[in-house]
């Protein structure tokens, strides 16, 4: 399994480069163009990251999340969600950058190769900011009645958390 995981990125790189050469693309120039795009994009998200880090860290340092997690953990225990993962699960659908920072805190304190560290990585990597996307996409075309979109989106997010917990314990 680890082998397949470590083969995915090199395989994609190989396919892309071979396909580019066959189609006579200036692959080196294209690559540089993409790198510049990456530079610009990273700079573009910098203000958001800075803003979110400060506010998330103030919230985390106040210990309110830990205290709340203790209060809420019996509820999550019913569906077997470990309390360390709750802040991430709650923030993931709301804000991508804040959940990223919460994930980073988990990786730094519990370790990236711990069970919770891996689950956090999988949750962060395999679902998107549901509430943000629903807000952005619907408002862009002037939709006000979103019917069952939010319920389905959030239930799918919850299923992602549960599936991540199961899959990580199965694979590692």
């Amino acid at each position: 399994m680890q082998l397949i995981s470590s083969l995915i990125i090199p395989t994609i790189v190989l396919v892309v480069i071979v396909h580019g050469l066959i189609n006579q693309v200036n692959i080196f120039d294209s690559f540089l163009k993409g790198v510049k795009e990456g530079l610009k994009m990273t700079l573009d998200i910098f203000p958001t990251i800075l803003a979110m880090i400060i506010s998330i860290n103030v919230l985390l340092k106040s210990n309110i999340i830990i205290d709340l997690t203790h209060v809420l953990s019996p509820v999550f225990k019913v569906i077997n969600i470990p309390s360390d993962i709750i802040p991430l699960a709650l923030m993931r659908p709301i804000s991508g950058s804040s959940s990223l920072i919460i994930m980073n805190n988990i990786l730094m304190t519990l370790g990236p190769d711990s069970y919770i560290g891996r689950v956090a990585s999988v949750i962060q990597g395999s679902t998107d900011t549901t509430i943000y996307i629903i807000g952005l996409y619907f408002s862009s075309v002037g939709i006000k009645k979103i019917k069952y979109a939010l319920s389905v989106g959030l239930l799918a997010d919850l299923s992602c958390v549960i599936i991540a917990l199961i899959m990580v314990s199965l694979f590692f």
């Binding site: 470590s6 990456g38 800075l50 210990n63 395999s126 679902t127 989106g153 299923s159």
Partner: protein, 199 residues
Amino acid sequence: MINYIWGGFFIIGIIYSFITGNTEGINNEILTSASSSVNMILQILPIMCLWLGIMQIASDSGLIKKLSRKITPLITKLFPNIPPEHEALTLISSNIIMNMLGLGNAATPFGLKAMKSMQNLNKEKDTATRSMITFLVINTASVTIIPTTVISFRIIAGSTNPTDIVLVSIITSFLSCIVGLILDRLFYFLRRKKYATNL
């Protein structure tokens, strides 16, 4: 919305620390957090640049377009209310492929165009259609093949094998996307009577 979240974190955090008497910690946190954001951005930068470089080649060589065309027949089945060959289906396919390849920012314009195209088919302009909801479910459950940002954070946290979560991530996001689609179908049929007038 983001105003309330961002401001709310500060307000709740600061007031709670006043109540619990943890003001020293909060004071330090405000001052040191800004510098940790610089570290964080430096961690994301190289992986982001590398991946976007590779994906630029894929886009220039027509590989991304080719992949999008490959999944269009499947997409057509998932959206029974969009006429076959409609441009919305191509836009949706492109958006999904780009999200899969970790090109979230490049995917968004296609997603917005897909919404506009579906809105043209919509009879009640202020109400979401079945197709729009299906599209957003796929989009938010996002089957991601390469979680680039996550990998870069795992590298910095000292993981012995930062990419070992890739396969599990793909399986998890694929399964949760399927769960999302099943729920989408379920909700649609359960509530069909209520919204009988709208597709």
